[in-house]
Point group: C4
Chain length 80, copies 4
């Protein structure tokens, strides 16, 4: 069990290499998780309402989120 979100989790997606998971929540954030340790590695903030849908790009370098705040957000992962 990996805790961190403070409201419902609505959507989850694995990275193509399976090492990361992204989750979208009614707490307005996305979280990235290390799938080996189960630890949260990042909290992505900015949406001002429920995050309804999340997706990873095929190259694993980008994330997208859709929100009830009427916006989509694109996130570039820091691979350094």
């Amino acid at each position: 069990m990996s805790q961190g979100h403070t409201n419902e989790v609505n959507s989850v997606a694995f990275s193509p290499d399976g090492r990361q998971l992204v989750s979208g929540s009614s707490d307005k954030t996305l979280r990235l998780w290390d799938t080996v340790t189960g630890q949260c590695t990042a909290t992505l903030e900015g949406h001002t309402s429920v995050v309804s849908s999340v997706a990873f790009s095929k190259d694993g370098l980008k994330l997208a989120s859709g929100s009830w705040d009427e916006t989509i957000r694109l996130w570039t992962l820091d691979t350094t």
Copy 2:
């Protein structure tokens, strides 16, 4: 943050090459986004109710949407 929709975003999906994102909204439209610039490149209109689900075909040339208007719509992307 990419604005344009005028109601909740319910579903997002990347194109297979990661260069485009499609979003489906309660504002009855789909929007296409350039994932590098974050700009909206097209607004796909026709549904008469909430767009609940969107998908890209594997070749990146077609989009599909499902709506609370009881229809599905197929969209062919202009690649010129």
Copy 3:
């Protein structure tokens, strides 16, 4: 626009080859669509409540659906 469902469409998914689309609806059915003609090629009946989620297997030969009727259903596509 492809009509046929008699209630909200909740979920759409392309077949791996892009030639078919499956949709799941609150009308308790799944429908298969030819993505070239936009015609409905099959209506899959059996669920007794809302179809919330649909998926294609990677080989394009199986469909799965989840429903508010508390069951999942597996469908084998006739390829003759």
Copy 4:
């Protein structure tokens, strides 16, 4: 028809090889299904509220779930 869940099924996903299906339900569990026999092969318990979203990793060895209990869970499949 494959029975087992005791509340709405919200999300289904095939394993990459198509031999398994995972479902997430409002009954707080995930279930794994053999797609040939239609039999439930495992019930994954732990969530304390609705399971909203499920996903398979590309290698077919991990499952992820998101829940209204504010957690995500990662499950490693026993392949022995």
